[in-house]
């Protein structure tokens, strides 16, 4: 059994509308970058994270398909699906493959291609993370579920929507410095509030937009990584936890229990506390999900997240730099790729390669990736290796 797993190569495409690129081409572009960085031609296994290729792209069997695309016929390859946590769930599988000793070098790529579909089809595909016969059946959307959470949160904790949406504003500010971001420009709270309502009280500029994108990592045991590169980043913990799929059949609609469980296990495995974390990536399909994430990851008390965000404590130069390259709102949210983007970005931060968005002295990073409304959470803790 390998002691530690390290990241030795990362790559991604720009998030956005890639009219001229297919699912395959996106995966290839991100993967080639990661393999070139790691200086590796062939791997023992490929894990592909993807949510919606069947419904949007009429394509399944992504393991074999991407192995073929990468010129690696014969390799062990499979697609991993956990709604919009598919990418991070794929990384979790790759981590376990190396930990078990079954594989030495692994390529993990998250890929999603949504802009070929009509918006109503994308909404429908997004809802496949929820209970099809009952929750989807009600006609609600992801933004709608986030809207109900937002309303309940405002009522219970006396928060205002204009405070909560500072999460989206922070994402946009950070995305302005990210050449791979879908929306690399700043916005204001006023701009969010003036944008059209999507699912009251949620406004368009507090939701994610359909996007294409792919991100990839090359993983190997730390002993190998030290020979391959000067700046390996170690995966100190990779934890996946689940919760009830119906958000309103959980103990508390405003607690992401899967996030709590995954985070507690991850902190214990990594031997750290939330205070040790220098840089964070969370899964904010709307601002409310970002606020709940900060609370359930243990960075701030339940009910205080909105204040923490409104006070600017998640800014690049503040206490807890969060979504430093734009997060789901502004880097973008190509579902099955998002969890891998988070880890690519944390790797840049921990290597000191985040350019104008660099968090000084970042040593430990945490990524929280969520499937649907929290039925799955994957937490990764990364550390710069000295």
């Amino acid at each position: 059994m390998s002691s530690k797993v390290a990241i030795v190569g990362v790559g991604c495409t720009k998030v956005g509308e890639h009219w001229d690129k297919s699912l395959r081409q996106l995966f290839l572009e991100a993967s080639l970058k990661a393999l070139e960085e790691a200086d590796v031609d062939r791997v023992d296994a490929i894990y592909v994270g993807n949510m919606a290729s069947a419904t949007i792209n009429f394509q399944q069997h992504l393991g074999a398909l991407m192995a073929d695309v990468m010129g690696m016929r014969g390799v062990d390859a499979v697609r991993v699906e956990a709604a919009d946590a598919s990418g991070s769930a794929a990384v979790h599988q790759a981590y376990m493959a190396i930990k078990s000793g079954q594989a030495q070098t692994v390529l993990v790529g998250g890929v999603e291609k949504l802009t070929d579909a009509r918006p109503a089809d994308v909404e429908y595909a997004a809802m496949m993370s929820e209970r099809s016969e009952y929750v989807v059946y009600s006609g609600i959307t992801i933004a709608g579920l986030n809207a109900i959470q937002t309303q309940l949160y405002m009522d219970r904790f006396n928060a205002r929507y204009e405070d909560i949406v500072n999460f989206a504003v922070n994402d946009h500010r950070n995305a302005a410095g990210n050449p791979y971001a879908q929306f690399p420009f700043p916005i204001t709270v006023e701009r969010v509030l003036e944008s059209p309502p999507v699912a009251d009280p949620i406004r368009l500029f507090d939701t994610t937009a359909p996007a294409d994108g792919a991100a990839a990592l090359v993983l190997c045991p730390l002993e190998t990584a030290k020979k391959l590169c000067d700046t390996p980043v170690v995966i100190e913990a990779s934890v996946l936890a689940t919760d009830g799929v119906n958000p309103y059949e959980r103990d508390d609609v405003l607690t992401l229990t899967s996030t709590r469980v995954a985070a507690e296990r991850a902190y214990r495995t990594a031997g750290i506390t939330p205070r040790d974390v220098d840089v964070v990536e969370v899964h904010n399909t709307s601002s409310i999900m970002g606020v709940l994430a900060l609370e359930d990851l243990g960075f701030v008390e339940k009910g205080q997240g909105w204040r923490f965000v409104a006070e600017g404590q998640i800014a690049l130069n503040a206490d807890l730099p969060t979504n430093t390259l734009g997060g789901l709102k502004a880097r973008g949210h190509p579902w099955g790729a998002t969890g891998v983007y988070q880890l690519v970005e944390l790797t840049w931060q921990l290597r000191g390669e985040a350019g104008g968005n660099q968090v000084d002295g970042a040593e430990i990073g945490l990524a929280q990736s969520v499937g649907g409304l929290g039925a799955t959470t994957v937490v990764h803790i990364l550390r710069r290796w000295h």
Partner: protein, 142 residues
């Protein structure tokens, strides 16, 4: 959507059948055979309460495929009288009039259609309870 896929959900969609855990008392809709809260396998069928009150709501202005004709529509989180939370569309109520605390009752409605020749799905939506004063006889002259 195939006919069997719709038919097998009829008890839950037309009659609000769920299950109740005899060990911890939790209610589930749709039914669970094993209680996800306490792990007990001791569950019985139970019809949910048809009345309740609105806890929170949203107005869907960008609907998913199959719901475009209804927009904008209200979807609410409803606490039934037996304590169960349920998510459903709120109908017979203007967007301007909907508010948390509103008393609601289940009503049988059309949910969606599968194109021009496919199945029409029915099920529960919720509407405001009309407070009826039974003492006051309707005026026959009106």
């Amino acid at each position: 959507m195939s006919a069997p896929a719709v038919r097998r959900e009829i008890p839950y969609r037309y009659r609000l059948m769920g299950t109740k855990c005899l060990n911890c008392g939790a209610l589930f809709h749709p039914p669970q055979r094993i209680c996800p809260k306490c792990g007990s396998k001791d569950l019985v069928e139970e019809e949910l309460a048809w009345r309740g009150r609105l806890v929170a709501y949203t107005v869907i202005r960008r609907p998913p495929k199959g719901y475009e004709d209804y927009k904008p529509y209200i979807v609410g989180l409803i606490e039934l009288k037996d304590g169960k939370l349920i998510l459903a569309q709120i109908v017979d109520c203007d967007i301007e009039e909907v508010r948390p605390g509103l008393k609601l009752e289940a009503t049988f409605r059309r949910i969606r259609e599968d194109g021009k020749s496919g199945i029409i799905e029915y099920g529960y939506k919720f509407r405001p309870v009309i407070e009826w004063n039974w003492q006051k006889k309707p005026n026959p002259e009106k």
